[in-house]
Each structure stands twice: as structure tokens, then as C-alpha cells.
């Protein structure tokens, strides 16, 4: 390849990349760097307040067991929700990509995401109607089963997981679908005609080829769920306090942006760290 061609390639790459990344730079990265700067201050640098540089906000995380406890609780929640979403969503995507044919596939594809064009807050309160003791689910189960049951899922960790899995399931269904649909059926046929068993085909052929889709979906679920606070607060009752809650408190209940910012960047670092740790394992699993 000649140098000039590489240069035109570079220019093309730049032209394709710059709209998205310049946009992100102006609207997200620069504002977030301001927040990152605040996280090293003792107070916000406006409104005539005294401030100086400090590491106290990061130290506060290390010195306060509550923050670490809650972060761990949030990470666990993220892992559970992600795992459940993948386990539930992948078979669904498989059916959509490999079993359903023709026009109905387009329609189903759209129907999977449509619930997310409703407001998340309204959706959470709607879950409350379904899950509470005398709510829709409890009443239905009680009416169907001959004996007396009291099913009350509201205000429990289960309710949080149900609400979150519901909110994020479409990500993994659609991204898995995108990868599964690209697998040539004749490949699967060939494997089958060579006598491979279903489990072998799934493990050696389908999962590795669908891996990029599953991983993309899992990442899009795990990353935001760790910082979530709305579903836990409304559905989780007394136990609904998570790491996202204490971040939000610094902006809403008290005026301590520096600490809120520091807690957010610790969250970001931990999330990225987990993704980095997971990536070799994922790569090995899919080879």
C-alpha cells in the first residue's frame, strides 16, 4: 500500500470519525472534565466560595465503609441483571433470528424495543401496580391457584431485578439478534450434516459467532445498571439504597458537587476496570 493511499484513508477515517467524536468532546468530555476538576476541589469554585485543591473527596471514599459497601452491592446488582438479561434474551434473539421467517420478523424486531418509548418513571410505577401484594400479579396468581397464596414481590431486591431486567433486556435481545442473524444458515446445516450435536453446534459455532453481539449487549446493560438509583428507590423499598443513590444525594440533598463527582469517577473507574478484567476471559471463552 502506498503512503498516499494510507493518507487518503486517514483523511477518510478522520472525516467519518470527527462528527461523532467532536460532538462528544464538546457536549460530554469537556463538561465531564470540568466535573473531574471539581472532584479535586474542597468546594465548588463559584458563588464566592472558598476552595483549594484536595484529595479529600477520594479519600472520603476509602475512609467511609458505606460507600464501598454500596458500590459492591451495585456491582453485584449489575452482574445479576446482566447475567439474567443475557440468559433470558439470547434464546429470544435466537428464535427471532433463526426460527421466525418473513415479514413478521421485522414487526417483532420493532415490538421488542417499543416498550422503551414510554417514560421510565411511568414504567416503574406500572411495575409497582403489577408486583404489589394486592396488585395484578398477586391477584392473578391467587385466582389461578386453588389454595391461598400471598405473593408480594414489591419492595424487595427481586422487584428491583425484575424492573431492571425489564428495562435493559431489549439491548441484549437486539444486539444478539444482529450477530445471530448474520450467521449463514448453511454453516449450521453443514455442521449438522457432519453429525455435530446441537450442543456442540451451539458451543463451537453459534456462541463464538454471536459473541460480539452478546458482549455489546451485556456491556450496554452492566455499565448503566451499576449506577442506577431510580428503580431501586421505587421498587426496592427499605433496601433500595445503592451506590447511585449516594451520588445523587450529593447533588440533591446537599450541595457537595466535588464529593458527588469523585464518587462518580470512582464508579467509572471500577466499571472500566471490571470490563478490562473481563475482556480476556470473554475472548478466551469465545475462541
Amino acid at each position: 500500500m502506498s503512503g498516499s493511499l494510507a493518507r487518503t484513508d486517514r483523511l477518510r477515517a478522520l472525516a467519518l470519525l470527527s462528527p461523532a467524536y467532536l460532538w462528544l468532546m464538546a457536549a460530554v468530555f469537556l463538561p465531564l472534565s470540568a466535573m473531574a476538576f471539581f472532584s479535586f476541589l474542597s468546594d465548588v469554585p463559584f458563588g464566592g466560595r472558598d476552595w483549594q485543591f484536595t484529595l479529600d473527596n477520594y479519600r472520603a471514599f476509602l475512609e467511609t465503609p458505606t460507600y464501598a459497601t454500596l458500590l459492591w452491592k451495585s456491582v453485584k446488582l449489575g452482574l445479576i441483571v446482566t447475567a439474567l438479561s443475557v440468559l433470558i434474551g439470547f434464546p429470544c434473539a435466537y428464535v427471532l433470528a433463526k426460527v421466525v421467517r418473513g415479514r413478521s420478523r421485522e414487526a417483532l424486531f420493532l415490538l421488542v424495543i417499543l416498550p422503551f418509548w414510554s417514560n421510565s418513571l411511568v414504567r416503574i410505577f406500572s411495575w409497582a401496580i403489577v408486583l404489589r401484594g394486592n396488585g395484578i400479579l398477586g391477584s392473578t396468581v391467587d385466582a389461578i391457584l386453588p389454595w391461598d397464596v400471598r405473593l408480594n414481590l414489591m419492595f424487595s431486591p427481586t422487584a428491583i431485578v425484575i424492573g431492571l431486567v425489564h428495562s435493559y433486556l431489549p439491548y441484549v435481545i437486539l444486539t444478539s439478534y444482529l450477530a445471530l442473524q448474520a450467521i449463514d444458515d448453511s454453516l449450521i446445516e453443514a455442521a449438522r450434516s457432519l453429525g455435530a450435536r446441537r450442543r456442540t453446534i451451539l458451543r463451537r459455532l453459534i456462541l463464538p459467532l454471536a459473541a460480539p453481539g452478546i458482549i455489546a449487549g451485556a456491556v450496554l446493560i452492566f455499565v448503566p445498571v451499576v449506577g442506577s438509583f431510580m428503580e431501586p428507590r421505587i421498587l426496592g423499598g427499605r433496601r433500595g439504597t445503592y451506590y447511585g443513590t449516594v451520588i445523587e444525594d450529593q447533588f440533591v440533598a446537599v450541595f457537595n458537587w466535588p464529593l458527588g463527582a469523585a464518587l462518580s469517577f470512582i464508579l467509572l473507574a471500577v466499571v472500566l476496570g471490571i470490563l478490562a478484567l473481563a475482556s480476556p476471559a470473554i475472548r478466551r471463552a469465545t475462541l
Partner: protein, 343 residues
């Protein structure tokens, strides 16, 4: 003739200047944005009203700081007025522009929190109590003490607001302390620790409260008097109780941002907001208590605000909330987060 022309020109000029659009920053659904009230104000003065809403006091301050000139009237809880004034966010009130000013309760007008730096910076508008409300159906006999929250028989049927400051203040009251001068934080913490297993969920908005109470998720919970009045007006079978230990009192004022360019229209709007005609109608839909003595006297005997908050025995038990320092707020939040995280 010349003089007549001059006066008419002046009248016309003042009317032209009067056709302002004022921008009000408030909680949504908190009186200033009632359709009929705005329509009546526009008819009276020619000014139109646009609203913007906030969801917490901290965000209200953030909005004021970052949007100079954007607002003309802002609702500020008296506990935050001094902070807004010290940051130069709000201007002193010109009481001569408020026709109803003479009828306002002098005790509220003179409230030191509304008068930072020796000048009135917020017109007292509404006040109310934070206390407890119970589902009447579950309480044949109404409780008279805050200790109902700790009643073992009600385990899992209690709720308090998800707010560190309020939780600490309630526990302070329950331990017999002055809620503006909490000396024994350990006692507060111990009392709240006992409360936690009682709680089914925390509430954070009237929306949660009404739905959870309507569904029977809890039967006794802390609540705001103005909200209780509205929930009762909307048919929830609840009773608002001021227990023997007392109740938290709060006072909301209407202020004018220092950067407002429509001071006259802003004062006119505040004047309408403290007008008895406005308040008496608002009260029928469920409102907090008014600062206007004439408006309060004009309420029907059965009105919640007259029957409950107008009772001198109740008023005697109220401890009004004073401003809380940032450091104290953070201490209370910390305590609250620790307790919640331990669940």
C-alpha cells in the same frame, strides 16, 4: 388639556410596560401554576406567566446561579432564603408594591429567616407542618404520639421520607430535643436504628405517598400538611395528626431574583398570590396554610387549614425549621446513608 394628554401618555406607557411575561420558578403543582389563577392574573394585569419547575431546593439554587435574568419570581423555603441572599441571587422586596402586604401575619413577615441582612427578601406565602398521617380505616383510635412509628404491631407498615435532614429532625423530636439544636446525635441515631425495621419503604414524593397509601403498602407515614389536605380533597381516607411531641414547621416565601428585569410585574404576581380571593379558591383544592390573616379568616369552618392548622393548641406544638448549615446537612446525610446502607 396638555396635562390630560400627558397623563394619558403616561398611562399608556405604563400599560405597555405592564404587558410583561414573567417567569416563575417553583415546584410543579404548587399554587402558582394553577390555570385559573394565571388566567385571572393575566386578566387583571395584562402580564402573562411562564413556569419552570425544580425537583429539589439544591437544583433550584443551581438554576438561579446559572441562569441570571431567566426568572422573575422564585419560591424559596425560608430555610434557604439567607443562603440565596448571601450569594446575591435575590433582591429585597419592595412591600409598597404589594397591596395585600398589610394583611400578612406580622409574625411571618418579621420571620428572621426571611429577613437576611435586615431586609425582607421573601414574601411569606404559605406555611405548613411536617408530621404524620394515618390511614383512618386502620386506626379506629387515632394515635396521639410519634411513638406510633415505633409500634411493634405496625412493623412493615410504616414509611418516612427519604431525606436525611427530616429523618434526623423527627428522631430529635421523638427524643425530646430541639430540632434546630440537636445536641445528642447518638440518641437520634439509636432511635432511627430502631425505626428502620418498621419501615416498609421510604417515600420521596406525593406521588409515591398517595399510590403506596392507596394500595395499603403502608398505613402510617410522615407527611406534609398541604399534601395531606390535597390527598384528603382527592378522596384518600387519611387523617393528619399533630402528636404531642410536636411537628416540624416550614415556611415558604416568594422571592424576586436580583437579576429580574420585570420587578413591577413580579411584585404584582406575588401580590396576587397572597390575595384572599386566590387563596380561598386554592384551599378548596387542597393547599398549605396561608400567610394572609384575612384569607385565613375567610376560610369555611370545615376547611382543613382552618380546622387543623388554625387550632392554637396545634400551633403551640410546632417547632419551625431554621436554616441548617452545609456541614450539619452533610453530617445528617452521612448518618442517614449509613443507616440505609446497613439494611
Amino acid at each position: 388639556m396638555k396635562r390630560f394628554l400627558l397623563t394619558s401618555a403616561l398611562v399608556m406607557a405604563s400599560q405597555a410596560a405592564a404587558a410583561d411575561e414573567i417567569r416563575v420558578l417553583n415546584w410543579q403543582g404548587y399554587g402558582t401554576d394553577l390555570d385559573w389563577a394565571i388566567a385571572a392574573f393575566t386578566e387583571k394585569t395584562g402580564h402573562t406567566v411562564v413556569h419552570e419547575y425544580f425537583t429539589s431546593e439544591q437544583e433550584m439554587l443551581t438554576k438561579l446561579r446559572t441562569n441570571p435574568g431567566a426568572y422573575d419570581v422564585v419560591l424559596i423555603n425560608a430555610a434557604y432564603t439567607a443562603q440565596a441572599q448571601s450569594e446575591g441571587l435575590i433582591a429585597p422586596i419592595d412591600s409598597s408594591k404589594i397591596g395585600n402586604f398589610a394583611d400578612l401575619d406580622p409574625a411571618l413577615v418579621g420571620n428572621e429567616d426571611l429577613n437576611p441582612a435586615g431586609a425582607l427578601h421573601g414574601v411569606p406565602w404559605t406555611w405548613g407542618l411536617t408530621s404524620i398521617a394515618v390511614n383512618t380505616a386502620d386506626f379506629p383510635e387515632l394515635p396521639t404520639s410519634l411513638s406510633v412509628l415505633w409500634d411493634p404491631a405496625l412493623k412493615g407498615r410504616v414509611s418516612i421520607r427519604d431525606d436525611g435532614l427530616e429523618a434526623v429532625q423527627f428522631a430529635a423530636m421523638a427524643t425530646g430535643q430541639n430540632l434546630n439544636q440537636i445536641t445528642d446525635l447518638e440518641a437520634v441515631k439509636a432511635r432511627l436504628t430502631e425505626l428502620m425495621p418498621q419501615v416498609t419503604t421510604f417515600w420521596s414524593s406525593e406521588n409515591d405517598w398517595n399510590q403506596f397509601m392507596a394500595a395499603g403498602d403502608f398505613v402510617v407515614a410522615t407527611y406534609w400538611s398541604g399534601s395531606a389536605a390535597r390527598s384528603i380533597a382527592n378522596g384518600l381516607p387519611i387523617t393528619f395528626i399533630v402528636p404531642e411531641e410536636g411537628a416540624l414547621g416550614w415556611l415558604d416565601g416568594l422571592s424576586i431574583p436580583a437579576s429580574s428585569t420585570k420587578m413591577d410585574a413580579a411584585h404584582a404576581f406575588i401580590d396576587w398570590m397572597v390575595d384572599p380571593e386566590f387563596y380561598v379558591r386554592w384551599d378548596t383544592e387542597g393547599a398549605p396554610a396561608t400567610s394572609n390573616t384575612k384569607a385565613a379568616a375567610a376560610l369555611p369552618e370545615t376547611s382543613f387549614n382552618r380546622a387543623v392548622l388554625g387550632d392554637p393548641a396545634v400551633v403551640a406544638k410546632v417547632q419551625f425549621m431554621k436554616p441548617v448549615s452545609d456541614a450539619d446537612r452533610e453530617t445528617y446525610l452521612k448518618l442517614w446513608q449509613d443507616l440505609k446502607a446497613a439494611q
